[in-house]
């Protein structure tokens, strides 16, 4: 048993690709938490998708036993955090479980917007920051510049900075020593009523909901009856313990410790991130501060490619929701796409992840509509505001009195070379420029306020492409503001395709309508007849393109050696068609439903 004064709880804050997962791997190796031979690269990122995208989606908590140079054994709890803008709230809860944070900054790239936001979160919670400049082995590394940046923007003293190369293992022992010497041990009263912060959870088919907790006060005992204070869900603990990184059962977890609690509960929605776990029989008078329910900001329709897979999609969403309570879904139907679900996500990446998991883990072919935000609509004949998260449901222009949309505060960190291009992009997206801070002579932090609806439509991709990949983005929700917004409809072969409707600002409607039909002309393959594609506001057509009829599709020759091959070519053609959705008599490929995201791409 390691006493609380020899426990250290810390997390790692870093931008995507700055080396967080690699550093975590090195810490696990250096403390013999995991055998080097058994080490799969990036142990903490266990989901296949996480490894591919190089990001951490679910926080993980691993207990390391470290023989410090003072001759004592310390328990170091590494609490991994998601590193993306969609998951700011999750990050803040993970940080709340810690007393220290390692700030990892790439020696060539410097601080990015997301990192800055997370460091501010950590500082606001009085965490000790251990600054680490990683990847110093790279030829492009410029640690001095990054040190200056840390001094200027975060007031981090240069003598605290540790230079490291997680890839080569340099700096790892210094980091471990710094955790022991700089991060304070957890405080908390082991005898007080139980308060344990839930900072993550997952669903296990055998153990039910497994909550990842940091005990703030009191002690958790095996088989104790517990209650989640916000959701009021109660159960008896089936098992508790630590992750090393595989679960190791223990008898108790006391104030200051980090571990897991298998609750046997059946719904992950019962153990929400930020909730407080307490003793059902001797509850704490109040929960730990800071809990809020994560609100979806980005919405999209998800439909099965084939109508008969609707029940499979519903089951898949139910199952996925067991492990990710932060997305919401409810049935909706579209004239064009049939039966599906309107889903709400924390952000664009979250949406992408959910969609990919549905396709990959449940083997579904899906069509997703372009993302949208939630509009609030005041009508001429109605006292209550309508909430519209699907453009297709926007009332006709004559009935609308006013439409309000969510705005965000956005920060873009970019090299000064790209300021002009980014300003142009942002103002084209109705952003109001606020201020510009210099992080160092060559990099600035631009502050904007802009409609979220503009940000979710390929703003990030455009930002990356206009800054040669250097700019980074972070945003926070501000609130609703009225705007002169109109619904833009798309008609294919004269029929409105509801799944292609979008809400745009009136001043941009013509430009966007034109760009959209041009893109659709490119994305919809030629049919056996001519197909007009139109954009309209109400009954007013604002743009039109025509997809020429297919004139010829015949295999030129077919002799003895060609029969098998030609049959296979036809099968391929058919597969292509099966991946399309038939609307009226026109076959529309999946990409077309996301055309609005691609109007800025060169054709």
């Amino acid at each position: 048993m390691i006493p609380p004064e020899r426990i250290r709880n810390f997390s790692i804050v870093a931008h995507i690709d700055h080396g967080k997962s690699t550093l975590a791997d090195r810490l696990l190796e250096a403390t013999h938490t995991i055998d080097r031979r058994l080490m799969t690269s990036q142990v903490l990122d266990s989901m296949e998708l996480e490894r591919e995208k190089g990001i951490t989606i679910k926080a993980r908590a691993v207990r390391l036993h470290y023989d410090a140079t003072d001759g004592q054994v310390y328990a170091l709890n590494l609490i991994d955090t998601p590193g993306h803008v969609d998951f700011t709230y999750e990050v803040s809860r993970s940080l709340q479980a810690c007393e220290g944070a390692i700030l990892v900054v790439d020696a060539s790239q410097g601080i990015e917007a997301q990192t800055l936001a997370n460091v501010h979160l950590a500082m606001a919670q009085d965490l000790v920051i251990i600054p680490v400049i990683n990847k110093i082995d790279l030829p492009s590394a410029d640690p001095d510049l990054v040190i200056a940046e840390l001094e200027d923007t975060l007031a981090i003293p240069r003598e605290e900075v540790i230079l490291a190369s997680a890839k080569e293992g340099t700096g790892v022992s210094e980091i471990l020593e710094a955790i022991v010497s700089r991060v304070p041990p957890p405080r908390g009263d082991g005898a007080a009523p139980l308060q344990a912060l839930v900072f993550d959870s997952h669903y296990d088919a055998y153990k039910g909901v497994v909550a990842y907790v940091r005990v703030a006060n009191g002690t958790l005992h095996d088989h104790e009856r517990i209650r989640f204070m916000a959701t009021a869900a109660t159960s008896e603990i089936l098992e508790l313990g630590w992750f090393r990184p595989q679960p190791v059962p223990a008898r108790s977890l006391t104030a200051g410790e980090v571990g897991y609690v298998a609750s046997g509960l059946k719904s992950i929605a019962d153990a929400r991130v930020g909730d407080t776990l307490t003793d059902a029989d001797r509850p704490a008078p109040e929960p730990l501060p800071g809990y809020k329910q994560a609100l979806p900001l980005v919405f999209a329709g998800i439909y099965p490619m084939r109508g008969d897979e609707y029940p499979l999609l519903r089951d898949a969403l139910d199952k996925l929701h067991l492990n990710d309570a932060s997305f919401v879904y409810e049935p909706e139907s579209s004239v064009a796409l049939g039966f599906g679900f309107r889903c709400g996500f924390l952000g664009l990446l979250h949406m992408e992840i959910v969609q990919e998991r549905l396709e990959r883990e449940f083997d579904l072919d899906l069509i997703a509509s372009a993302p949208s935000v939630e509009y609030r609509v005041a009508t001429h004949h109605g006292d209550d505001e309508l909430v519209v998260d699907n453009p297709a449901q926007m009332p006709p222009p004559g009935e609308v009195e006013q439409i309000s949309e969510p705005w965000v505060a956005a920060q873009v960190i970019t090299p000064t070379d790209h300021i002009g291009a980014i300003m142009e992009l942002a103002t084209g997206r109705r952003a109001d420029f606020q201020t510009m801070e210099y992080l160092d002579p060559k990099r600035v932090n631009l502050h904007f306020e802009m409609p979220l609806g503009e940000l979710i439509i390929d703003f990030y991709d455009q930002l990356k492409s206009r800054s040669s990949g250097y700019a980074s983005l972070d945003y926070q929700y501000l609130g609703y503001r009225p705007g002169d917004l109109v619904k833009l409809d798309v008609l294919v072969n004269g029929e409105p395709v509801d799944a292609l409707s979008l809400i745009v600002h009136r001043s941009n409607a013509y430009r966007q309508g034109k760009a959209l039909v041009e893109k659709l002309k490119e994305l919809i393959p030629r049919q056996m007849f001519e197909v007009p594609v139109q954009a309209a506001i109400g009954s007013h057509i604002i743009s039109r393109e025509t997809i020429r009829a297919m004139r010829k599709n015949v295999l030129a020759k077919c002799y003895g050696g060609d029969v098998t091959r030609k049959r296979k070519l036809l099968e391929k053609q058919r597969e292509g068609k099966q991946r399309m959705k038939r609307i009226g008599s026109v076959e529309i490929p999946q990409e077309a439903f996301l055309a609005v995201l691609r109007v800025n791409e060169a054709s």
Partner: protein, 409 residues
């Protein structure tokens, strides 16, 4: 050695005779490999021709010789690069193997003056039909395709074949060539009609890479060329060219008997007709396919060296094969039957598959008819003139395992 047509051999109806067999001999060698070619070809290996001919003979000797040999077809590549004496030995070997002379022996030839074959020698070798890879009688088209011959050479090659006594000469033409508008095509087509060939095959220039494992991996230069040329193609022009050909060739006395084939009466390709009637054939040589006439098809190693190594070491040249299940056989019957302008004979389909094709493929037939692609009468299911241009669209609905709502309305 020209065969006499038996009474049953009404063209396009080879399958009425149940005992024919057909031999395909692949010759992959080319002096120049065309950038648009997807066949098993190889350039710069002319020195291996004698070795290859030996391998063909060895393979032929090992293959069974069932039924009665009706036709031989030397395809390529450029079979006319093989010396006439070697062709003669191969024909002789086949005749020995089957114990009878075939009714039709076709050889594909290139019109380039630099590789002019010994036409008299070929005539004496037993070849009865020549298929000339003319491609066009207009120099701008030939330059666009980077063919190694001129229009003048093409005329001379045709005249030389006639002079050597070939009374059955087919001409291959390519349309849909970038820069070749409808007027240019008309001019080229008229010139071809003026030569008075016996048979004409028209092929649309196919530049998009076939998305399959059998497409030859093109050299990077060829790939760039194909992409550049493809961007200049217009399927509206190609469609108009095809329609014009139907009109012009029809008026000149050619019968359109298969999607890409026109013939004077009695000059239809008996060998190719056997493919469309799903007769059994033996293919020898690199990449050649064989078919048992029922449910098995298999093919040889496609690479020249792989083929030579296999045959010379006494091993089978076979590289792969497939067993066709009943739905696939039925589909192929439809796909190949519809290539014939006379269409798929309903009675024959019923005999083989026990059900009328209109009943079995009710949905596809109904949709095809609604789209103006398919026409039906008492005897046959056939493509309409519009359907001949959109045949692939019409066929998709007949593929095995098509869910009812997955094909175009």
């Amino acid at each position: 050695m020209k065969g006499i047509l038996p009474a049953w051999a009404r063209m396009g109806d080879v399958a009425a005779d149940p005992i024919t067999h057909h031999l395909y001999v692949h010759v992959p060698f080319c002096r120049l490999v065309c950038a648009y070619c997807d066949f098993a070809t190889v350039g710069g290996r002319a020195a291996d021709i004698p070795r290859y001919v030996e391998a063909l003979r060895a393979e032929l000797a090992r293959r069974p010789a069932p039924e009665r040999l009706e036709t031989i077809y030397f395809g390529g590549g450029t079979p006319s690069l093989v010396p006439a004496a070697e062709i003669a030995r191969l024909v002789e070997a086949a005749v020995d193997r089957w114990g009878a002379a075939p009714a039709e022996v076709t050889l594909e030839a290139n019109p380039s003056a630099r590789e002019a074959p010994d036409w008299f020698g070929l005539r004496a070798s037993g070849v009865s039909r020549v298929s000339l890879g003319l491609q066009s009688l207009r120099d701008p088209d030939l330059r666009a395709l980077a063919r190694g011959h001129t229009a003048e050479e093409a005329r001379r090659a045709f005249a030389a074949a006639r002079a050597a006594g070939f009374d059955n000469v087919s001409i291959d033409l390519i349309y849909g060539i970038p820069g070749q508008d409808v007027a240019a095509w008309r001019e080229g087509l008229r010139a071809v009609v003026g030569l008075e060939p016996d048979h004409v095959s028209l092929y649309a220039l196919q530049l998009a890479l076939a998305p399959d494992e059998w497409a030859a991996p093109p050299r990077p230069g060829a790939l760039r060329w194909r992409r550049r040329m493809e961007a200049l193609q217009d399927d509206g022009v190609a469609a108009a060219q095809y329609r014009l050909a139907e009109e012009l060739l029809g008026a000149a006395g050619f019968r359109h008997y298969e999607l890409s084939s026109w013939a004077r009466p009695g000059r239809e390709s008996r060998h190719n007709s056997a493919y469309w009637a799903r007769r059994p054939y033996t293919g020898i040589g690199a990449g050649a396919h064989s078919f048992d006439g029922a449910g098995r098809r298999w093919w040889n190693h496609r690479g020249l060296d792989a083929y030579l190594d296999a045959v010379e070491s006494g091993a089978s040249a076979r590289a792969g094969g497939e067993e066709l299940d009943e739905p696939t056989r039925a589909f192929e019957a439809v796909a190949l039957g519809l290539r014939r302008v006379d269409g798929l004979p309903r009675e024959r389909f019923r005999t083989e598959f026990g059900v009328d094709p209109l009943e079995r493929y009710a949905d596809a037939v109904r949709r095809g008819a609604a789209n103006g692609l398919l026409a039906v009468d008492e005897e046959a299911l056939r493509l309409t003139p519009r359907g001949r241009l959109l045949a692939s669209e019409a066929l998709l609905g007949f593929l095995p395992g098509v869910p009812a709502d997955a094909v175009p309305a």
